[in-house]
Amino acid sequence: MRLRISHKTTYNYDTPVHYALQQLRLRPRTGHGQTVHDWTTEISGATRQLSFEDQYTNQTDLLLADDGTTHIEVHCEGIVETTDTAGVIGRHKGFAPLWLFENETARTKPGPELRRLARDVANADDTLAQMHALSATIYEQVTYDIGKTDSTTPAETALAAGHGVCQDHAHIMIAAARLLGHPARYISGYLLMEGLVEQDASHAWCEVWTDSLGWVGFDVSNRICPDDRYVRVATGRDYGDAAPILGIRQGMGQEDLHVALQVQQ
């Protein structure tokens, strides 16, 4: 499938910014069933300082806000050719060891709810069946609901509250998979949605390591394994590692964030 993506993130500040940095993980790579064509990143109100590949091989850029700016815009655009691999990503690449994805993080620290969840699906025939069951259970127990959680909400909290967004679904699944002894990782990326071109946020799902197939993707929120409508952009142990934009800013003042995303064929 040939997907055309346009992703515009806009920050408006009520007072001029004197020193702010933004770390972008917004460049998809070719590989794992996707080929990237003509990817561009246009920036206004800030200047790219450098680019590097992080420990999870994410293509990362560091931006410095222009002194005194009140407006920063990051516009990514390009075409990604995808093939349907039924969620199978396969072998592990890069220096980050598999065991790193077994470790808990602040957002995926297990509590009683997560332990219960993991226990409920523990008796499965194999990893794959277990993970499908886990994904389905999370979908049932955690209603998709915007505005109840934010990017710092721990999986345990979202699970206990019974609602969240794709990010919370992914965190819960990752935390539970790790409890069951499987390495699991967070994926941020894009999804072509049927009959809906304009989206207001990018998507997130997770991947779990299976000895037979390697990494396999699970999108809890849509109850499927990612197919050719999905574009992987960044990965990590949780949202914190794979966040599209991570910023730090000196001084006071309010920040207003707006995302305009289009994914179309």
Binding site: L50, D54, Q55, L62, G94, F95, P97
Partner: protein, 475 residues
């Protein structure tokens, strides 16, 4: 805190009979008046206070800026003894750097099963952010301090490695300076190898590790948490001696893809940053977002290869006490040789058998926290009361993996000058090692720390220890 085992006295074979390295010193000392030496000793203290060689003790708000007591009797090491130590230290430091490169890349040593994966996987000193980073010249630990204790004429043990930010080198230099001023005649009689080249060697070594993008003379800076840090004196001292800027986090920011310092004429890039700020505080964008001591974005600049950070972040995994007991294997794995320097036998309390042994023999052992430093949170079994032992036993049972235990070694003594003349006290030794892409440089000597209390084994300055000048004799 006493210990009665027979031990080596480094100065005397028996009463009045010096060991060979001390012969000349002993001759001189016998001709001196104790009262006069006591006066000299008081002068040294006044001198230290005037030039401000002080440290701040953590957990004592009012008692800011204390002096580390200095003892005027030097510790003397013969050329032969030193040569062997030097070989052992160099081998160990090479292995540490090879280990760090491996652990942040393919982790062959884990694949080979020589070090258990769990020790790294569950270890906070392992920094995922360092995965895949190859620092300029392959140097991870530009500065290493190796803590040694001695139990016999040729028996040295490594007590611990300091691969993060070893401190104390300023005392090594100032102690020598003080001795030179007070007792110049001693240095004309004895061939003591100089230590004063250290700051120049440090600068050379840091400059040699500059990132490849640097074309001219590399700009070296020392990053300090500020004047309230316990080691501020040392930070200022080293910056001064190296002719490098002493910067705080507020002086630094990102400009043009580099880390730059704010000068009176604008921002200027730093090529090599000798940082005396812990990993966790180094970059609020990457690590602790609350940190005010760090430089946001510096890890990004580092990964992009535009700055050298000394020591590299994440080197703590090499001096972690949980890994310490594997050091002989680590040395062998990377150098293909047997370790020249011995380790102190160590029980890892994470292992059930070891834990049982430790609990059964608690009163005879020294138990340390895996991540502790500065002598805090440790138990010296033979010196502990029944109640202290019982309290510690509870801690051990609650978090066994947090502790290691070692036998109380019969540490060597060197005399100090007391009111009544010479009296033996236990010592350790921290030589300082500089690593650059082309050489390993070990300053002859190091910092000798001495437990000033009779019989005490704890030499940390925060726990009532003092220091001595360390003399390595020439051939």
């Amino acid at each position: 805190m006493t210990e009665s085992k027979p031990h080596l006295d480094e100065m005397f074979v028996s009463e009045g009979a010096p060991r060979a390295p001390y012969e000349l010193y002993h001759d001189w000392f016998s001709g001196e008046d104790i009262k006069h030496l006591r006066r000299k000793s008081a002068e040294a203290e006044a001198f230290f206070r005037r030039i401000g060689i002080t440290f701040n003790v953590y957990g004592q708000e009012d008692a800011d800026e204390r002096l580390i007591p200095f003892d005027i009797v030097p510790r003397v090491i013969s050329a032969r003894e030193w040569a062997r130590l030097e070989r052992g230290i160099e081998q160990r430091v090479r292995a540490i750097n090879a280990f760090l490169h491996d652990i942040y890349h393919r982790q062959e040593i884990l694949r080979a099963g020589r070090v258990p994966k769990e020790l790294i996987a569950g270890n906070e000193a392992f920094l995922p952010e360092m995965i895949g980073v190859s620092p300029p010249g392959g140097v991870y630990t530009h500065i290493v301090g190796v803590d040694l204790v001695r139990t016999g004429p040729d028996e040295f043990f490594v007590l611990e490695d300091n691969a993060r930010t070893p401190s104390g080198v300023s005392y090594m230099l100032e102690n020598r300076e003080t001795m030179l001023q007070m007792f110049p005649e001693l240095f004309t009689n004895m061939k003591v190898r100089p230590v004063s080249d250290y700051p120049r060697a440090l600068r050379r070594s840091l400059a040699a590790s500059a990132p490849p993008c640097v074309t001219g003379k590399p700009e070296v800076a020392v990053l300090t948490p500020g004047i309230h840090n316990s080691a501020y004196f040392e930070h200022a001292f080293l910056a001064d001696q190296m002719g490098a800027e002493l910067v705080e986090s507020t002086d630094l920011r990102i400009t043009d893809g580099r880390v730059s310092m704010r000068t009176t004429q604008g921002y200027k890039p730093v090529d090599v940053l000798y940082r005396r700020v812990d990993d966790a505080y180094l970059d609020p964008l990457t690590f602790n977002p609350e940190s005010l001591l760090g430089v946001p974005g510096i890890m990004d600049v580092y990964r992009a290869g535009n700055i050298t950070i000394a020591n590299a972040p994440g080197t703590g995994i090499a001096d972690d006490k949980a890994l310490y007991s594997y050091m002989p294997d680590i040395v062998e794995f990377y150098t293909g040789e047997r370790a020249i320097l011995q380790n102190v036998p160590t029980w890892r309390c994470s292992e059930p058998d070891a834990l049982k042994y430790v609990l059964d023999n608690l009163a005879d052992l020294v138990v340390k926290e895996v991540h502790g430093s500065g002598g805090y949170g440790m138990l010296v079994g033979p010196a502990a009361s029944k109640r202290e032992l019982a309290t510690f036993e509870k801690k051990l049972r609650a978090r066994p993996a947090n502790y290691i235990a070692q036998p109380t070694l019969a540490l060597s003594t060197v005399p100090i000058l007391t009111q009544k003349g010479l009296a033996p006290r236990h010592v350790d030794l921290r030589p300082f090692v500089l690593v650059s892409p082309n050489e390993i440089n070990i300053t002859p000597g190091g910092l000798t720390r001495v437990a000033l209390k009779k019989g005490s084994l704890v030499v940390n300055s925060s726990q009532g220890g003092g220091t001595k000048d360390t003399w390595v004799l020439g051939e």
